[in-house]
C-alpha cells in the first residue's frame, strides 16, 4: 500500500519499465500467506474443524448430552453397535444414502445436461423456461418441501389428481416404502436441476465452436457431434457437477426431514438423516456421532475415488 501509483488501473502497469527489481515484495517469496488466510482459517477452525474433531471424540463415549460429566467411555462400542442395530439397520441406511445419491448423480446430471443443450439450442420459444429454469433452486427447500408434501398427498394431491385425469396408475407416493424414495428423488431433482443446468450452460457457453463445425462439415449427425465433441469437451464441467451432486446428496437432510421423516418404515432413512435422528431426536449422542464419522468417511472415500479417476487438469475442482 505504498500508494504512489494507486489511481492507475492495474493492467496498465505492465507497460512501464521498472526502475529496480523488487523480488522481496513478490507475494510468493514472503510469508504473508498466513495473514491473508488467517481470518478464514480461524472461522473455519472454530466452526468446522473443532466440531468435527469433537464429533470423533464423542463417538467414543456413551455420551450424556444433558450432563457430559456422566458420560461413560465406550471405546469403539458405538461402532460395534452399527452392526447390532435393528431399527433401522446401519446397512439399510447406508444403502438408502447410496440409492438416493446414485439416482441424483445419474438423473440430475443427465437431466441437467439435456436441459442445458435444449436451452442452448432452442429459439425464442424458450425464453419463458429460461426464467423458470433456476427458480426452484432459489426457493427455500423447507418451503417447497412443504408444498410437495401436499402434491404427493395420495388422496387430495396434485400428482394423484393429474395421473388420475390422464387415466394412469396412481401411487401412494410418500405413504409406501417402495415409492417414498423415488418421490423424494423427484422433488430433489425438481429443486436441484436448475443449479446444475446453469453450470452446464456456463460450460457450453465457453466451448470453442471450431471442432463442432468441423464435425458437422464431416457429416456427423447432431448426436454424433454431441457424443464425440461436446460431451468430451464438457468433461471438466461434468466432473464438477457429478462431484458436487454426490457430496450434496450424501449430506441431504432437509427434504427427508420435511417430506418423509425418514419413513415409512425407515425407507427414506439415509445415513445423513439417521445422524440427526439419533444424535438430536433420540438423544443417543454417542451413537449418532459414530454414524456421523462413518458418513464423513464415506463422503471422503467418494471424493478420493473421484480424484483418482479425474484427469490432472480438473483435479483442482474437488
Amino acid at each position: 500500500m505504498t500508494a504512489t501509483t494507486t489511481a492507475r488501473p492495474a493492467l496498465a502497469t505492465g507497460g512501464r519499465r521498472p526502475r529496480r527489481r523488487a523480488p522481496a515484495r513478490d507475494f510468493r517469496t514472503t510469508r504473508w500467506g498466513w495473514a491473508y488466510s488467517a481470518p478464514a482459517v480461524l472461522i473455519f477452525a472454530a466452526f468446522v474443524i473443532v466440531p468435527t474433531g469433537y464429533t470423533f471424540y464423542v463417538s467414543l463415549w456413551k455420551w450424556n448430552a444433558l450432563n457430559p460429566a456422566m458420560s461413560v467411555y465406550r471405546g469403539l462400542g458405538n461402532y460395534q453397535r452399527l452392526f447390532d442395530a435393528t431399527q433401522p439397520t446401519f446397512l439399510s441406511s447406508l444403502w438408502h444414502s447410496l440409492y438416493f445419491s446414485g439416482a441424483m448423480v445419474v438423473g440430475g446430471t443427465a437431466l441437467s445436461l439435456a436441459l442445458a443443450l435444449l436451452l442452448q439450442r432452442g429459439g425464442a420459444l424458450l425464453n419463458a423456461s429460461r426464467v423458470a429454469l433456476f427458480l426452484p433452486h432459489a426457493t427455500p427447500m423447507i418451503a417447497t418441501s412443504m408444498i410437495w408434501v401436499w402434491i404427493f398427498n395420495p388422496r387430495f394431491g396434485l400428482a394423484d389428481w393429474m395421473l388420475h385425469s390422464l387415466h394412469l396408475p396412481t401411487s401412494q407416493w410418500l405413504q409406501s416404502s417402495t415409492s417414498a424414495m423415488p418421490a423424494v428423488i423427484v422433488y430433489s431433482l425438481w429443486h436441484e436441476v436448475g443449479f446444475t443446468t446453469v453450470v452446464f450452460l456456463g460450460g457450453l457457453a465457453v466451448l470453442p465452436n471450431e471442432l463442432s463445425e468441423a464435425a458437422r462439415m464431416d457429416g456427423c449427425s447432431a448426436w454424433q457431434e454431441f457424443w464425440h465433441i461436446t460431451w468430451h469437451q464438457l468433461r471438466p464441467v461434468t466432473v464438477f457437477v457429478v462431484a458436487i451432486t454426490a457430496i450434496t446428496s450424501l449430506q441431504a437432510f432437509t427434504q427427508f426431514y420435511q417430506l418423509s421423516d425418514g419413513g415409512p418404515v425407515y425407507a427414506t432413512t439415509t445415513l445423513s438423516y439417521l445422524v440427526y435422528q439419533e444424535a438430536f431426536v433420540l438423544s443417543d449422542t454417542g451413537y449418532g456421532a459414530a454414524l456421523a464419522v462413518v458418513l464423513f468417511a464415506v463422503t471422503v472415500f467418494f471424493t478420493l475415488v473421484r480424484r483418482r479417476t479425474a484427469t490432472g487438469a480438473d483435479s483442482a475442482l474437488t
Binding site: 469433537y54 463415549w61 450432563n67 401412494q172 421423516d261 418404515v265 432413512t269 433420540l282 438423544s283
Partner: protein, 438 residues
Amino acid sequence: MRYRIAAVASLAALSLSACAGGGTPATTTTAPAASGQELAVPTKPVTITFEEAMTIGTLKPAMEKLVSDFQAKYPNITVKLQGDPDYATMYTKEKAEVQAGNAPTMGQAYESWASYFQSGGALTPISELAGTDTPTEMSTFYKGVQKDLALGDGKTWMWPFNKSVLILFSNADMLKADGQAAPKTWDDYASVMKAVSKNGVTGSTIDPGSATAAAFGTQWFEILDKSNGGTLYDADGTPHLNDAGAVTALTYLKSLKDAGALATGKNYPGETALGAKKGAFDISSAAGYGFEKATVGGKFNLGISALPAGPAGPVNELTGTNIVVFKNASTDQKAAAWAFLKFITSPAEQAGWASTSGYLPVTAQALPLMQDFVAKNPYETAAVSELDTAFALPPHSWIFKCQGYEATAIQDVLDNGAAPTAALGTAQTACTAAKAQG
C-alpha cells in the same frame, strides 16, 4: 453442570475430555428428602420462563389468559412464554436449552421426556417446591391424572397441564344418510367403517406416527391393545409389543385397511379427510375440537362421541403433557413456578382454561364453574369421566423410542402389507435393546 472452557475455538475438544472423565461432580439424580417446607411465594420481582407449545396457533388466547390472570394476582411475578409450534420441536429445544445451561424455569413434558431429563439430573422434584411429595392439591385431580405425575422412582416430578383423552369425531350427516348409528364397540366401529367406505369415501384416515413421534394412530393402537386385555409395557418399562393383545389390535387395523375402510396419511389426515367429506370418522384428542370445527366449517353436522369399547371394557389413554420445573432455576423462580402451577390447576382457572382451549379440566371441582360450556358440549361430561380410568404409558426414557417402533410396525403393516406378528416382533426386539441401552 456448569463448567467453563477457556478457549472455545481451539481447546473445546481437549478440555471436554477432562470434563467427561469426571472432572466435575456428578449432579444428584434422586429426589432429596422432602423438607416439609413449602416454598413461599416471593415478594420481590421475579421472572420465570415457560417453554410451551400452546401460544402458536389457536390456543393462544387460552394460554395468555392463564398468564394474565396469574400476573394480576401476583404482580411481582412475570411469566415469559417461549412458544414452540409442536411437541417434537419443543422437546428438541428443551433438550438443547438444558445442554446449553439455558433451561427455562418450566416446560411442558411427556412422561418419557421427564424421565430423560431426570436421568440427567435436570429436574426439580415437586417435593422441593411443595415440601411434600404429595401436595394436598393432588388429591383433587382425577385419578388417572394423579397416577401420571410420578417417575420410575415413585416420586412426584411433574404437575398436570393440558390433559385430554381421545374422542371420536364423525360426519353425522353421512352416518345418518347411511342409516348408521354411533358405534358402541370396536366391532361395531369396524362394520360401520366398512359400510360407509364407498363412492370415494374411506372410513377414516389415520397418522400412524413415525420413528420419532407418536401420533393419534399410535395411541389408537395402544388403546386397542389394552381394550383387548393386553399390556404393552410393564410398570418398569419392560415391553410386550408382540403379545396377543397387540397382535389382535394390529390385525384389526390391517383388516380395516384391507377392506378399504382405513387409509394412512400425515399432518392430521383424519381431520382433512373428514373436512373434505372423504372420511366418516376421525379419532382425535378432545382438545382438537376447535380444529375439527374449523376444517368442517359448517359443511355438515360434526358428530362427537366417546370411543367405542373392547372386550376388556371402555379404555382410553391420556393425551397431552405435564409440566416439569428445571433444576437450574433460582429459589425465587422455583417458588414462583410452584405458585404458577398451583394457580393454573385451581378450579376457577381450570374451568376457564378448559372452556377456551378444549382440554379437559384436571379437577372435577372445575365442572360446576363451567356449566355453560358443558351444556353446549355434551361430550365433555363423558370425556372427563374417563380421566379417572385413562392410562398413560409408564414414565421411562426409552418409551419415547419404543413408541417410534410401535409406529413403525403400524406403518409396516398398513403401508407395506407386512404381517402383524412379524412387524411387532421387530418392534419388540428393538424396544428391548433400547431398554438395555437405557
